[in-house]
């Protein structure tokens, strides 16, 4: 069934349609929320739930079909994460001087991380050092494979801005993890 039609049925209260959409997009949205929040499962689940409810309860009008449903839902989720972050003030942007020197994980990483756990830790460290807006583009590109146009749509910024942020994010990572191999 067409996703737009599925969304319309979900909005009307069709639980089968709601479940179908959760099964199609829930896993990806959960991963996105987990990467953006780096928080507890409860926070992640709450954000994903709110995202679906926003889409089902009244967000259909906002979905004009310009982007895919996946991209649009990602954008809704990112906005919710931003609101939560603003509310908590718990994750201020890392100061720029934090990117001036390579840190210890780089030297550890340069000895070729053999295990997936080590790789996961390295990636988590990379994400952790990025300010929120740069973290968003890296996750959308590297893990969700979004094009620049899709990133711009999800983030609510022009495509060129998404590209610039991605370039800067990668530069920050290169400076901080200079020895990563």
């Amino acid at each position: 069934m067409d996703e737009e039609e599925l969304l319309e049925q979900a909005r009307r209260g069709d639980n089968a349609a709601r479940t179908e959409l959760v099964m199609r997009h829930g896993r990806r949205l959960f991963g996105l929320a987990a990467a953006l929040l780096d928080g507890a499962d409860a926070d992640v689940s709450d954000i994903v739930q709110e995202t679906f409810l926003a889409a089902f309860d009244g967000g259909l009008k906002a979905f004009k079909g310009n982007a895919s449903l996946a991209t649009w839902l990602s954008g809704v989720l990112i906005n919710r994460v931003r609101k939560l972050r603003r509310y908590r003030h718990s994750r201020p942007a890392a100061p720029l001087d934090a990117f001036e020197r390579p840190v210890s994980v780089a030297s550890g990483a340069s000895s070729c991380p053999a295990t997936e756990v080590q790789q996961r830790m390295d990636v988590a460290a990379m994400l952790d050092c990025l300010p929120p807006e740069y973290r968003e583009v890296i996750i959308l590109r590297e893990w969700h494979g979004m094009s620049y146009a899709e990133m711009g749509s999800a983030l609510g910024v022009p495509e060129r801005t998404a590209e610039t942020r991605l370039t800067r994010a990668r530069r920050m990572l290169r400076q901080r993890f200079a020895g990563y191999d």
């Binding site: 209260g13 069709d14 639980n15 709601r18 479940t19 959760v22 099964m23 829930g26 896993r27 959960f30 991963g31 996105l32 987990a34 990467a35 499962d41 992640v44 689940s45 994903v48 739930q49 679906f52 409810l53 089902f56 309860d57 997936e116 790789q119 996961r120 390295d122 990636v123 990379m126 890296i138 996750i139 590109r141 590297e142 893990w143 094009s147 620049y148 590209e163 991605l166 370039t167 990668r170 990572l173 290169r174 993890f177 990563y180 191999d181």
Partner: protein
């Protein structure tokens, strides 16, 4: 290593976002620019690190729980809960206002009674009673009235003793 101005398009090149003509230009440049070649290698290493991992995934139970939590009847229940919470907050505010008004009126009444009693004692020349300083007498207005009454009583008593 000096940064090259062409580095700004390397991400787009790496991500396959360039048109064929632009790609050719970047590729030709990469052959002659070690700085850009190093930058591209760094981008590839970073991308490789992400490609080797994947974002956290929910368990099947979590996914089912999520599907359950967004069912239509669950939405209705949440709406009712929100409505109830809103009503409860409004009722709480009204109750607090009513209590505050009651306390204020009670203080005014007590202060007026104290004042009348002191003036009565002053008029008859007897010793005014000591006022209990209970919680209600903390109100500024009541305290001022009590202090004024005491001052009047002390002053009158002093004049009587002088005579």
């Amino acid at each position: 290593m000096v940064d090259c101005e062409n580095q700004v398009r390397l991400s787009a090149y790496h991500d396959g976002e360039l048109l064929p003509a632009e790609r050719s230009i970047v590729e030709a440049h990469l052959r002659d620019c070690p700085s850009c070649a190093a930058e591209l290698a760094a981008i590839r290493r970073t991308s490789g690190a992400f490609a080797a991992t994947s974002p956290r995934e929910p368990s099947h139970e979590q996914l089912l729980q999520l599907a359950q939590s967004v069912r239509a009847e669950a939405s209705d229940a949440r709406m009712l809960l929100r409505l109830f919470r809103g009503t409860a907050v409004a009722a709480g505010v009204l109750l607090a206002c009513a209590l505050a008004a009651g306390v204020y009126l009670s203080q005014r009444t007590r202060a007026a009674a104290h004042e009348a009693m002191v003036l009565d004692h002053v008029a008859t020349g007897s010793q005014p009673p000591t006022f209990a300083t209970d919680a209600l007498s903390d109100a500024r207005q009541s305290e001022q009235q009590v202090r004024l009454a005491r001052w009047i009583a002390d002053d009158l008593r002093g004049r009587q003793e002088e005579r």
